[in-house]
């Protein structure tokens, strides 16, 4: 072997920041190769995927439309992952927020009052919180692995959504399509720019990022969450209450994902249908890793992942490629990132062969 890995005495801060950039570059290269192998001109296809969607104001507002739910989910997940609570359930919490908020919106279709919108948002967040609470209860009370419980809750949530749109919440005048009635104006979030879909939920997301940033860097509770995640025994030794922290991170994360869900149905979508959750909860997992578990990084990572959704749609329209390229790019990105992260703790050195080894 010409090169070998050598453990660094302490982690490289530089590589911690460079690794995501490197991963993006590697993903782009792989993407280019992929497009070339499919018979498309690589640069043009990459341009279609990553640049074309952002050509005009509409593109940028649409980016915001996707950043808002991604960022809300990811900020919550960041708290969980900081504590090494592997909440994979943002997807389900998102759906519950959507279903819960959507249900209330459908009940209040004819009420035109200032409190309707806040109430719907609160209720959606509450539904997400309750869904996460189940996972917290299972983990703290039964020591049930949260990865498995939250995944199962995701599938249950998805089936609950299907049940609702096929049954109780189906639009009676909807020609039997599995979707609810359209929401009324008083139950829809206000948009920021007239005629575009971007709603004020992007402000909620940015606000949440700022609050969580302060919380994690300045408060003892935030510090406790970090310690719990880094070193379980140290947290016990220091007397930090593990169960309390698990409840805290899961509930916050659940309500943020729930908020994202209700803001989506009472925003750009404007009704309940089976497609309200295009995997934002899973993409948020990648965002948290890519964003280095830091709110600023997560904001940028959300934008990149939002772009992969738009790029997927764009290549479907322009190049007639399957939309599932989105998931492929997301998966590749996370793989490359994990591989590059090796360089934080290790460095590559020229292997000096030992004289004894030369003998062999």
């Amino acid at each position: 072997m010409l090169f070998k890995l050598e453990k660094r005495p302490s982690d490289s801060q530089l590589m911690a920041y460079c690794s995501p950039l490197l991963a993006v570059v590697l993903t782009l290269i792989s993407g280019a190769l992929l497009f070339a192998s499919l018979g498309h001109e690589p640069m043009k296809a990459l341009y279609t995927f990553f640049v074309l969607p952002l050509e005009d104001l509409y593109g940028w507002t649409e980016l915001g439309v996707k950043v808002a739910p991604l960022l809300l989910c990811a900020i919550g997940l960041m708290l969980c992952f900081k504590a090494k609570v592997w909440n994979i359930g943002a997807e389900g919490q998102f759906i519950l927020g959507g279903v819960g908020g959507g249900y209330l919106a459908l009940q209040l279709l004819d009420v035109d009052a200032f409190w309707v919108m806040p109430l719907i948002l609160l209720f959606g967040a509450l539904c997400g919180l309750l869904w996460a609470m189940l996972a917290a209860w299972l983990k703290t009370h039964f020591a049930a692995n949260e990865i498995l419980t939250t995944i199962m809750l995701n599938y249950i949530a998805l089936n609950l959504l299907y049940f609702c749109v096929h049954g109780p919440l189906k639009d009676p005048d909807g020609f039997n399509f599995p979707e609810s009635a359209m929401f009324s104006d008083s139950t829809l979030l206000p948009v920021i720019i007239e005629d575009y879909r971007l709603t004020i939920s992007i402000y909620f997301a940015l606000f949440a990022a700022a609050v969580v940033w302060t919380f994690m860097s300045r408060t003892l509770l935030g510090f406790q969450i970090s310690v719990l995640g880094e070193d379980h025994s140290a947290a016990r030794f220091a007397g930090f209450k593990e169960k309390k922290l698990i409840w805290l991170v899961l509930l916050v994360s659940g309500s943020l994902a729930g908020l994202a869900g209700v803001a989506e149905v009472a925003g750009p979508i404007g009704q309940l249908n089976p497609y309200i959750a295009p995997g934002y909860g899973y993409a948020a997992i990648i965002i948290v890793f890519l964003g280095r578990m830091h709110p600023i990084g997560i904001v940028f990572a959300s934008m990149l992942l939002a772009l992969t959704y738009m790029g997927g749609e764009m290549v479907q329209m322009d190049l007639a490629l399957p939309k599932s390229l989105t998931g492929l790019f997301q998966g590749m990105l996370l793989f490359y990132l994990l591989a590059c992260d090796l360089l934080i703790g290790y460095r590559i050195v020229r292997a000096k062969s030992s004289p004894i080894a030369d003998q062999a």
Partner: protein, 308 residues
């Protein structure tokens, strides 16, 4: 309920339980060696799509199964490279594998959605399949079901009796010690991970070539995850995995049972059953915390790099 219905339900239980059995057996071997691969779902999907494509292209179901196994093993190799050679976090790498596998399988299979094939047909075993009831329940399946029993026997025997089984367990319990007594920890872990991948791929092939048989996006429907829970439920014991797989199989075909009993219920609500059952199983396990601790491979999920 008449005997016919019961026979049908039990027959369907075995069919439905088979992919779970395959995935869980593979994951058990993998976890015994100390590696937690959460990428089952991605590997199953890749097995399903590649197996399906290979059969359509070659027109040969056997080739399809081989391709499915290879696809699963290759995916697990990717996982192994990151989690074993590059000591990446196993939880994150497993999640990445699932996300990647879901995306890649959807991409590869985009033009195969809706394509129909003649699935793998049942193989009525001579003589024994003639036995009333029993014959129908156990001996009128497709060959992959019988293969799953053979594989079960092999895994069971490996950990009961063989040195290989001991070696895998030792690597999963204390990799430092295993390295110190001269076992090649990384090599053994790679092999265990690839066995897990091959089994997941086989399960995928079973789904797309025998069970349904067709390809749809995300057709594994969480079976990879349920199998992960199953391994915990079974305390890493092959015989309990088999039992668990068929119990979950039964939970998944509850609609058959309910229809038999004359109930009407929303298919969406019934579809929640296996997932709900998984959660309940995880709750019940809490009563057995001490036993679980004794049977969990001690080094599960911990990356190992020999110091040179």
């Amino acid at each position: 309920m008449d005997i016919e219905l019961i026979t049908n339900i039990l027959f369907a239980t075995i069919r439905t339980g088979t992919p779970l059995l395959l995935i869980a057996l593979g994951e058990m071997v993998c976890e015994k060696s100390g590696v937690l691969n959460l990428g089952q779902e991605g590997m199953v999907l890749m097995g399903a799509v590649v197996g399906f494509m290979a059969s359509v292209i070659t027109g040969n179901l056997g080739m399809g199964i081989i391709a499915a196994v290879l696809a699963g093993a290759l995916m697990s190799l990717l996982f192994g490279f990151l989690a074993i050679s590059l000591v990446a976090n196993q939880v994150a790498t497993g999640l990445a594998l699932t996300i990647f596998g879901t995306g890649l399988s959807a991409f590869l299979g985009a033009s195969y959605v809706g394509v129909g094939i003649e699935g793998i047909t049942a193989w009525h075993l001579p003589l024994v399949s003639e036995i009333p009831v029993i014959g129908k329940i156990f001996f009128s399946h497709d060959p992959l079901v019988y293969l799953s029993w053979v594989l079960f026997g092999l895994v069971y025997w490996c950990f009961k009796r063989t040195r290989l089984g001991l070696t895998i367990r030792s690597v999963g319990e204390n990799p430092e010690a295993a390295n110190a007594i001269g076992l090649s920890v990384l090599q053994i872990r790679y092999l265990a991970v690839m066995f897990g991948g091959a089994m997941a791929g086989l399960a995928g092939g079973y789904l797309s070539l025998a069970y349904t048989p067709l390809w749809t996006e995300g057709m594994s429907a969480g079976r990879g995850w349920i199998a992960l829970a199953l391994v915990v439920f079974a305390s890493w014991k092959a015989e309990r995995i088999m039992l668990g797989a068929y119990l979950f199989g039964a939970a998944s075909i509850m609609h058959l049972v309910l229809q038999g009993l004359g109930f009407e219920a929303s298919p969406n609500l019934l579809a929640m059953l296996p997932y709900g059952a998984t959660i309940i199983v995880l709750m019940v396990l809490a009563n057995d915390a001490i036993k679980a601790k004794l049977s969990t491979p001690l080094a599960l999920g911990q990356p190992y790099r020999p110091q040179l």
